[in-house]
């Protein structure tokens, strides 16, 4: 920062004249360890009193080299890595990866598998939106709004445990379907969840939706217009809050989403309140999809018939020579994959989560690139907060739902 007579040059090259500045210019370090940055990323803010002038971002504090790691691991061992992208909704990442590999293998999974996948992905979307909206509440000072949704998330964790045994980083499903069908305990717990969750959700929603303090804090905080959002490559609830109804589930339906009837909520201003409301409405729409999928769950096998990628039954492995060979090859990661490249995208909790997979026929991918929505829309954060107060910056950051695992990969 240089001072020459009447002009001040800021760190990003912007030049201001001294008359426009009210107080003193200060540099504040917002992160990487800060209670309000939910994740590890740093913003260096230049403020004039409370008003933010510029912001410089540093990311990469949790860079774990997923893309290089994926070039080392066989296809079924990459699922645990995809878990850790957006870890608040890990089933969506897992199932998106399985769909990418199935696209490469040109395998069509049975209808029952597709409906089961839809139920699980919508549960994951509910879980992700519950966290994001509760944290918006916490950042405006309502700490109670943290405890209600986390109690409901425990029920979703119990549902995941019934399917795959893990709570958060689920490593769920197999290439070609699932390792076992839904158990009777899962059916009972899902029915229980569908009965009790809506009422609990409305109770929590009522605390924030028309709350005077919450609305005053969040309305007008961190707005972005639809044109700017599109230029930055926004997708997901952040783009829908700005008014554009782009949803991968509707434009390029995958896994039987075209069978279901749901609406896409769209906001008006693109500010924090709109992002909050869009996510709340998406939770209601997800519940609607789960009801439809569960009531119409078709009968059939719970996995596709691809013996080269799907582990055979243990009794076949002990009695049948072919099954033994397949079992050995799958566990050792030596299954034959065709050569080719494919791009598949799913609607993740934050937007279009894409997988660009190039295979050269070897046991591990030649190149796997993740299109991470957080990384792409976090670029717009300085523009969203320029001219706002520091408290608006805090609330905006929690409302755009930046998950550090997805930001840095």
């Amino acid at each position: 920062m240089e001072h020459t007579d009447n002009l001040i040059t800021l760190s990003n090259g912007q030049v201001l004249s001294k008359e426009t500045i009210d107080g003193d210019i200060a540099t504040i370090n917002f992160g990487p360890t800060h209670p309000a940055t939910h994740g590890i990323f740093q913003n260096i803010l230049t403020v004039d009193g409370e008003k933010i002038l510029t912001s410089v971002q540093t990311v990469g504090y949790i860079h774990r080299a997923f893309e290089k790691l994926a070039e080392r691991r066989p296809y079924n061992q990459i699922t645990p890595i995809t878990d850790r992208l957006n870890y608040c909704s890990s089933p969506i990442n897992n199932l998106g990866w399985h769909m990418t590999v199935e696209k490469l293998l040109q395998v069509e999974v049975p209808k029952r598998v597709q409906y089961m996948r839809v139920i699980i992905m919508e549960l994951a979307r509910i879980a992700d939106h519950l966290i994001c909206d509760s944290i918006i509440g916490v950042d405006t000072g309502a700490l109670t709004s943290f405890f209600y949704p986390f109690y409901e998330r425990e029920k979703i964790y119990e549902l995941y445990e019934e399917i795959c045994g893990a709570r958060l980083t689920t490593n769920l499903g197999r290439i070609g379907g699932f390792d076992k069908d839904f158990t009777p305990v899962f059916h009972q717990k899902l029915k229980e969840f569908l009965k009790t969750f809506p009422k609990a959700f409305e109770e929590w929603n009522g605390m924030l939706e028309r709350n005077r303090i919450f609305m005053d804090r969040t309305r007008g905080a961190g707005p972005i217009s639809a044109e700017r959002a599109l230029a930055y490559g926004f997708t997901g609830p952040n783009l829908r809050a700005a008014g554009v109804d782009y949803d991968v589930r509707v434009m390029h339906p995958y896994s039987s989403y075209e069978d279901f009837d749901f609406t896409i909520p769209v906001g008006v201003n693109g500010d924090t309140y709109d992002r909050f409301m869009v996510r709340q409405e998406e939770i209601r729409q997800s519940l609607r999809i789960i009801h439809q999928a569960y009531n119409n769950l078709p009968e059939g096998p719970f996995h596709a018939d691809i013996p080269e990628f799907f582990l055979p039954d243990k009794k076949d492995v002990y009695n049948n020579m072919e099954a033994l060979i397949y079992h050995f090859k799958i566990v050792m990661g030596e299954s034959e994959v065709p050569v080719g490249e494919v791009y598949h995208s799913v609607e993740g909790g934050n937007g279009e989560l894409g997988y660009y997979l190039i295979s050269d026929g070897g046991r591990a991918p030649y190149r796997l690139q993740f299109r991470r929505p957080c990384f792409i829309y976090y670029q717009a954060y300085p523009e969203m907060i320029s001219g706002a107060n520091i408290s608006d910056a805090v609330v905006t950051l929690s409302s755009i739902n930046v998950i550090a695992g997805e930001l840095d990969a």
Binding site: Y61, I62, R64, Y87, F146, F150, Y151, A404
Partner: protein, 185 residues
């Protein structure tokens, strides 16, 4: 580590006799205030532990402080990359004595599944750790178990440990400076 003993008191008419170490340790162990240094997935499990199902505040950890000056326990939950390592060391140095470190998750304990060029293979390469909680991510019950083990350590720690030669030597191996007035003598 010495023998584990219960808090011995000698009761009298209107007074109790015990050693200062034990009384102070009892008070400290039941009101440990943590600093959740949550970076990734283990951070979400830690948040679930703080929630109402696996309530962590019943163990005395009511106030999560994010400023190092006011905390006793540094809970590192999640992957620490080499870029973040200096930040973590600085946060540890800013904490006031006595301080303990709980390493939650496989990534913080040893690098976890990420044996890559950018991930620090365990935080014990830069700061001294007291209790490790393995898991990826560990269940809330495991995190609570880790916290209870920290409480056991706190309860049996002699008051002069932080001024001992052994402790100073330990911090020297990590190249962490001690800014304690007793050591300047």
């Amino acid at each position: 580590m010495g023998k584990i003993e219960d808090l011995e008191v000698i009761n009298g008419e209107g007074y109790q006799l015990t050693s200062l170490d034990k009384a102070v340790a009892l008070a400290r162990s039941n009101s440990v205030w943590p600093l959740p240094f949550a970076t990734s997935c283990c951070g979400i499990e830690f948040m679930a532990t703080m929630g109402s199902t696996y309530d962590l505040s019943r163990f005395g950890m009511e106030r999560m402080s994010f400023t190092p000056r006011q905390t006793d326990l540094l809970i590192v939950a999640g992957t620490i990359s080499k870029k973040l390592a200096p930040v973590l060391q600085k946060v540890y140095e800013q904490m006031a004595e006595p301080k303990w470190v709980l390493s939650v998750g496989a990534c913080a304990s040893s690098g976890g599944i990420f044996d890559t060029y950018s991930v620090l293979q365990g935080i014990d390469r830069i700061i001294p750790v007291d209790v490790y909680v393995p898991g990826c991510p560990p269940r809330p019950e495991q995190i609570i178990d880790g916290v209870i083990n920290i409480h056991k350590l706190v309860k049996h720690e002699p008051m002069r440990r932080r001024y001992s030669e052994e402790y100073r030597h330990l911090l020297d191996t990590y190249e962490i400076e001690i800014t304690n007035s007793e050591h300047d003598k």
